[in-house]
Amino acid sequence: MTAKARYERPLIKKLESNMPNKFGLRTEFEPLTHIDGVSVDSLIADYGSPVFVLSEQKIRSKFKAARQAFETRYPRVQFAWSYKTNYLSAVCNVFHQEGSWAEVVSGFEYDKAIRHGVDGSYIIFNGPDKTEEDLRKAITNNSLIHIDHLDELYMIQDIARETKQKPKVAIRVNMDTGIYPMWDRFGFNYENGQAWDALNKIMFSGLLELVGLHTHIGTFMLSPNAYAIAASKLANLAQRVQQKYSHEINYIDMGGGFSSRNTLKGAYLPGTDTNPSIDEFAEAITSALMNSEYRPKTPPLLILETGRALIDEAGYLLGSVIANKRLSDGRRATILDVGVNLLFTSFWYDHKITPAQEFTSYTEDTVIYGPLCMNIDVVRENVSLPLLNKGDKVVIHYVGAYNMTQWMQFITLRPNVVMVDLDGKPHLIRKNESIDSIENLEEIPTHLSHFEL
């Protein structure tokens, strides 16, 4: 008996005469069958579908490249890992092994950094919500407290007075960098004098040690020049403090916000082609600092709280095709077992999706839906993919930032997270949820414990 030919769904595709269409310039079907030498098939066989996979090698190489971009241009550089971007302990520890401090924005994140073994003096405490208890702990641990508003400043002064400690503080500054929208809800404004006013309050009181200046101008920024403006404005504040109080500020913290390789929704060209590189951001920031009027005895430490640009590309989400269907207007739709519950960032990005097995070169324009019985559950509004069948596996790329913190336990449970180490060995770093992990937190009042139908 002769072997039968490989079957592929029949496809008919209308040829359009116009050039690039709304499905983008290029197809994305180049399959990705292995991650750091481990096959997607075996990862799904061992850890289930869907599953998040992180490449330790990619995290480290991305970090090293970023550090190099800054250290080759400026003498004193320190990264602080932005916990909210991905606070899985294994991930944080990779960054800490690489020398990163911790940047946290809540008591929960603060405690997590302490549990990981980060010395309190290497924790930067940002954000508008620090409780009195959080602040007392941070002050005792010598952490770097970045003040967001005056109420916080007054509370820190009260604690300092009462405990006779001298807290190490910075203020967060917001400013016009030519970027819209301007993030003016965090910190003190530069242009209207609030920031200068807050610095004077700190210096006059003598209760606090002003160690730094901080800003975070936005996220997924595409303009290196905005960072140059921000760095100049912080340096200007530092210079005015030095002039007026003969006090040197130890560090300038430029926050995070560099874009990753993802493609923003609505962008015409893929992010891999258009988004600025880390070198361009480094060049803008470091030249602005070097050219500023601020001339202390030692140049201020340049702190970076880079999040997504360091981890997005190290993260993959593996999933499977549940079904194919046709929409009423004839468009093809594919349903995956991965939805917006796990892939929060699909609200912002046209995530790159590739199959995990070989296909012919035929492609089809497809809407990708997740498994949720909810209209919002759209992973890609349109993408050109090969003829996927039920059970086929797909890889969603650049998902390392924010998804493993902003995911929702909604309709389904959260899946396993695996990290592939430098020797190509997978490790489970977060176990999948079970119905027990959810229900253990619930309590049913006695009068609601029985019913008859």
Partner: protein, 82 residues
């Protein structure tokens, strides 16, 4: 279901509809189906022939065939069936 007589189907899967000026491509399985439809083959015969040539369940072929037929109908490649 029958393909309109004036539709040109090339051996490598290029389809041209001279009435509308539209052109299409099909993959190999799609081409086989179009050729069988042009010969006026019945549904069961098409499924039987495809299942002999390809590695696939009849149920899968049947489902894909009806989807494909819906698409070629939408593209106005089908003779009016009264």
């Amino acid at each position: 279901m029958k393909i309109k007589n004036n539709i040109a189907v090339s051996d490598n899967g290029f389809i041209f509809n001279p009435a509308s000026g539209e052109s299409f491509t099909v993959n190999q399985v799609g081409l086989d189906i179009l050729n069988l439809l042009r010969k006026g083959e019945k549904q069961e015969t098409i499924i039987q022939q495809l299942s002999e040539k390809y590695q696939a369940d009849k149920a899968v072929i049947e489902r894909d065939l009806s989807d494909f037929q819906a698409m070629i109908k939408q593209y106005h490649l089908i003779q009016n069936e009264e």
